[in-house]
Symmetry: C2
Subunit: 620 residues, 2 copies
Amino acid sequence: MFAGIRNLVFGSRLPTAEEVHQRLNKVQALAIFSSDALSSVAYATEEILLVLVMAGTSALGFSLPISLVIVGLLAIVATSYNQTIHGYPSGGGAYIVAYDNLGIWPGLTAAAALLIDYVLTVAVSVTAGIAAITSAFPALFPFRSGLCLLAIVVIAWANLRGVRESGTLFAIPTYGFVILTLALIVVGLIRLVAGTLSPVSGQGVPPLEGGAQTLTLFLILRAFASGCAALTGVEAISNGIPAFRKPEADNAGKTLIAMAALLAPMFLGISFLAHSLAVVPAEYETVVSQIARQVFGKGPFYLALQVATTLILILAANTSFAGFPRLSAILAQDRYLPRQLTNLGDRLVFANGIIALAFLASVLVVLFGGRTHRLIPLYAVGVFLSFTLSQAGMVRHWRRQGGRGWRWKATVNGLGAGATGVVLLVILVTKFIHGAWIVALMIPCFIWVFRLIRRHYESVAQQLSLEGLSPEEWPGLASSRRHKVVVPVSAMHRGTLVALRFARTMSKDVCAVVVDVDGQVTARVREKWPEWGRDVPLVILESPYRSTVGPLLAYLAEMDQREPERGAAVVVLPEFVPARWWHHLLHNQTALLIKMVLTYRRGNTHKARVIIDVPYYLQH
Amino acid sequence: MFAGIRNLVFGSRLPTAEEVHQRLNKVQALAIFSSDALSSVAYATEEILLVLVMAGTSALGFSLPISLVIVGLLAIVATSYNQTIHGYPSGGGAYIVAYDNLGIWPGLTAAAALLIDYVLTVAVSVTAGIAAITSAFPALFPFRSGLCLLAIVVIAWANLRGVRESGTLFAIPTYGFVILTLALIVVGLIRLVAGTLSPVSGQGVPPLEGGAQTLTLFLILRAFASGCAALTGVEAISNGIPAFRKPEADNAGKTLIAMAALLAPMFLGISFLAHSLAVVPAEYETVVSQIARQVFGKGPFYLALQVATTLILILAANTSFAGFPRLSAILAQDRYLPRQLTNLGDRLVFANGIIALAFLASVLVVLFGGRTHRLIPLYAVGVFLSFTLSQAGMVRHWRRQGGRGWRWKATVNGLGAGATGVVLLVILVTKFIHGAWIVALMIPCFIWVFRLIRRHYESVAQQLSLEGLSPEEWPGLASSRRHKVVVPVSAMHRGTLVALRFARTMSKDVCAVVVDVDGQVTARVREKWPEWGRDVPLVILESPYRSTVGPLLAYLAEMDQREPERGAAVVVLPEFVPARWWHHLLHNQTALLIKMVLTYRRGNTHKARVIIDVPYYLQH
């Protein structure tokens, strides 16, 4: 029955052999890998305005030059990553590039930054996607946190089933969003020139509180830092090169350029329209929604854009559900994370990674109340840290590799590393107290945990290693037939007899032990023993505090001390197994408790105790 | 460390030998056993008024005749229970009396009614006790549910530590409450006669919504039914006879009469004052608080009465914390409840029963929003059902016993049974839709569960019984040295070798099994096997779906079928045990999973599998 439900919800199990990789053409690849980057158009302009508006609406004019600088930065980063693609044609994630070229610490730093970044991508994309919906349907605004959680659950569920990255299916929302956004910009510009567009403000949209601060360079830099969220996701293509058709690197490079070429005008266009229409960021409606409402009117085009925005943002969240589990599996394989993260689930996905990501993103959504702009100060830190490390790694890579024109290549990547490094500093400084400190604190914590886990696995491997043992000694050791066997008896019943019989087949040195918790029960065992126990000696242990496990442990420890030369005692546990699950509630779980304590609590003697479980099945 | 915290919170463990019983004199016993009954004075009058006020304030005059009828009922019940005390000098709870004399079904009905009643006593007493506090400090009113839960936790904690029923300590709040209430009544009457008391109403206390209904006989009966809450707890003395000094029954009987003699004037006095002062029940202040404020003024006497009211109500709740665990232990001993309820904890108390009661009462408080009057419709049903059954049982008891004057005794108890039976009907009918239906539904459910549990224990006892076996066959069965032993191997390490060595000491017929989840690991085992595994055959199991447990189970089942005459295979599990608890998070719990599945999931063959756990301790 359980299997039936599992198959219904998650699909039937897939055999390992079915793991195949589908190759993508450039149009499909653009749809799959660029949703994260392109979708940031939906919130990047708004985040710039949200900072500027603190110095009053007059400061909003700075959004345009800030957007231009960000587009310039985009050009540098895209060029730099285009080189990474050619340098690491098998896939050059920041972790791999930094680890390979800069060493373990930069590698782990990049890994920590990336993991945090994936979680934030899910949280930011989902909250922004839900904001597009609540802009169109304000009645849903109070339920935004719930809707965000629902979206995360649905995405996680789809990934647990195993969404094949179906290029065709994914293309619809991505290209729909691109076309509708470009249409919005074109129509908006035409209507602006024609003079039929009036400013948005004063239409009953309540402006956010603001105007309290003076416009300083710091504030402008902070607005720039917020807008840098537009660059998130640019690195996605360089991670996914093996999915491209041949020649992979060339196709990936062209796709990257195409993505940058789409992202730049979309972002600039939205920023320009927001400026021209004097849009003021509002609590209940996104900036893009305000622009679209003004340009298209509240008709089918407006609604289509809002829906496409939500969908592409959910796709963007979905890319993290591919990236996070894959990166954690790589880290787990390198023994920096628990090895359970490498387990391929029934549907050939890294199920534990998917569940972990969904959980962490949900926590973030709840903590930050489902509000995009509260999450933004945390967002770009990880992204730009991994940009910087990855580009710096490429500089080293070209230098090591040498070859024709390595200096030029190293210079391009060096420029990328420098630019993103400076931006990282700007982000850290301007947004530190607004939340960037959380990430700055988390990254060293992550690295510390990585190291801790790695050290544990290394220690285990060393302790378990056969190195230094000679096969002649092992396992040919004289098979000592003289185990000391102890059978704890709770009462005289068939289960006890079966266990006793098994113990006697194992060794001639068996003794039975009764812990005297209930005098009547003990008396009954003692009375029946001569008949049923025969020659097996019966030991009765006092239990002044009514504990079963304590006296048993003490007895075993004492026995170990008495005969230190003998191996530790073997404990044979009679256990009757009820027929139905709820029957377990009606029995003391003494056998389970004894097993747990004997296995996991070490005695002073540090002798391993062998525990033998002899079940007796009840029928009804 | 864990033991240290436990000792600090709950006190150090007590040996079984320390279980002693302290005998009480009548003054102490009255304090301990009558808190439940006497404390109902704090809310009984108010509950009558709350019903009557629905027909407008003019209907409140009926409270006086209703109170008189209830006092008459009290006289009948007390007389009847006085006889129970002499008939069952070793303690005559309703369950025992009904079971003994009327048989199993009435006995279980009484048990169910009593259990429900104990839970309700806690909930009603605690909510009423907190209401006394919030009447004096209205600012606390919004936190009443939280305060109730806090009170329950504190009482439960005190009982888990094991409150000795210290007569002296308990006497202070009980006699304090009695003296202050009697003082209130006397001062009130004097001031009434002197004409210095004005009515309460019109002092800004907002009256509850009311006057909507017409005054019908049904409404008057419902008011009577609510007032019957005053009788709850009258039976407590008959349960506790063994705690009295000799002659126990005589002393207990006299204490019962004294309690009734105190309860009657207190209840009547409060009802009379409420009537004379034209008190209207209010949401934020209890009736007793209104009277006391008027009679004493808002001074130290008023405050002392409120505090004493809270304390005696908390004592009343505390009596349930003695009664509920004791009754559930008796029921568990009779195998009608899970046997864990008979476990005496470290402090010689029935810890599981205390925790269960605290949990159930907390659920009630939360569900009913910490309001006494919402709980009252549920309350009296159980009480009067157990009254009726217990008194009816006594009629049968006297008849069976015969002897001098049995007819007279039977008539007295018969009158008690008849009167409480009629009241039970009145309560059920008038309060059915207001909540009595919940109890009417719960009681049969409880009985059904009692029977279910009993049947399970009987079936287990029968299946495990040695009846019908002959000691000659057991356990002297030819000790078959030819166990088939299977060792699941996940990788070649020291833990594997230790397990393998143990397996070889057990039997000559050992085989090792590798489930091929990871090709590389399997290849490594296969490569090292000739050197380390020696003559033990290595079986490699395919696992197309990457499951470890599935193929192993299938292999064992197939082996059972191949050699049906042989007993089921013995499985030897190598398990390395990490040194720290958090290390467990870093390892697949495969050994644990295999143990669980092998023990609890039965194969088709229904052969019990013996599971041998060979731990290998890691040091750091």
